[in-house]
């Protein structure tokens, strides 16, 4: 069972907010003693997802939580937006697929960087992606 220990929420409306989010994620990851490599992976994943949020939905909210499962602690990030949603999630999760002019690495790459990845999307309502990076995961 995953228990939430503490929680914070950040509004994302412009590009500069991503730097604030990255710093906040780093702070929380440091707090639970996450190593530098895992921190870097988590922050990179966050950066990818925030870009998607800004690009396709014009912004949204990111919830940061410190979670624990048994003896393992981790950082959980929930990205929610009220954008156009994703029509075909399986297609979006494929390497190299993009509707924009990017490399199409964002979602599949992000999934490789984190321990747990969950995506829910309803067309015309929005998308919610939650990721967890365990301290030693």
């Amino acid at each position: 069972m995953i228990v939430t220990l503490s929680k914070d929420s950040i509004k994302i409306t412009r590009e500069q907010d991503t730097i604030f989010l990255r710093n906040r994620v780093k702070e929380w990851a440091t707090k639970i003693g996450m190593g530098l490599v895992n921190q870097t992976k988590l922050i990179t994943a966050a950066s990818e997802l925030v870009r998607n949020m800004l690009k396709y939905a014009g912004g949204g909210t990111v919830d940061i939580e410190i979670v624990s499962k048994g003896r393992e602690n981790g950082v959980k990030l929930i990205f929610s937006d009220k954008g156009p949603g994703i029509k075909d999630i399986n297609l979006a999760m494929r390497d190299g697929y993009t509707t924009g002019r990017s490399l199409g690495l964002g979602l599949p790459g992000t999934r490789r960087l984190v321990s747990e990845f969950e995506i829910q999307s309803v067309v015309d309502e929005g998308t919610t992606i939650s990721i967890i990076k365990w301290k030693n995961g």
Partner: protein, 132 residues
């Protein structure tokens, strides 16, 4: 607006990224660099990313763009000082930074740039001698 400074050092341009990059800043750097290559007739671009703690797919793409654009303008690009954690993350993300020359530190990066440029000159001379 924020800008990353570009220093001219002889035939080379030197960029040290000391701040956290966001997309707009990276795009500005890209266009600034290409214009500086033209303005100063630069033969090489050295980008120091030792202070950059994360590179995601967008910034990776910008680095690739800079390298490709400079190549078309006849300048070589070397990226130096990547942190180990960043390298691990980039590979796992699936971004191999194709076509970008890397060096461990500024010193080796400069060496690499110089050797690339003399190599180019030699090749040019050989081409010339064939045509004679």
């Amino acid at each position: 607006m924020d800008r990353i400074p570009i220093l001219k050092m002889g035939d080379f341009l030197l960029v040290t990224i000391q701040v956290d990059l966001y997309d707009q800043l990276a795009e500005t750097l890209e266009s600034d660099l290409v214009q500086m290559v033209k303005k100063y007739n630069s033969k090489g671009v050295l980008i120091d990313i030792s202070a950059v703690s994360i590179i995601d797919s967008f910034m990776g793409r910008i680095l690739g763009n800079i390298s490709m654009m400079s190549k078309i303008m006849d300048a070589e690009t070397v990226v130096v000082g990547m942190q180990p954690a960043v390298a691990i993350t980039l590979v796992e993300l699936g971004l191999p930074l194709k076509g970008i020359h890397c060096a461990l530190n500024v010193e080796r990066g400069m060496e690499l740039l110089r050797s690339k440029i003399t190599q180019d000159i030699q090749e040019d001379e050989e081409d010339d001698s064939y045509s004679e």
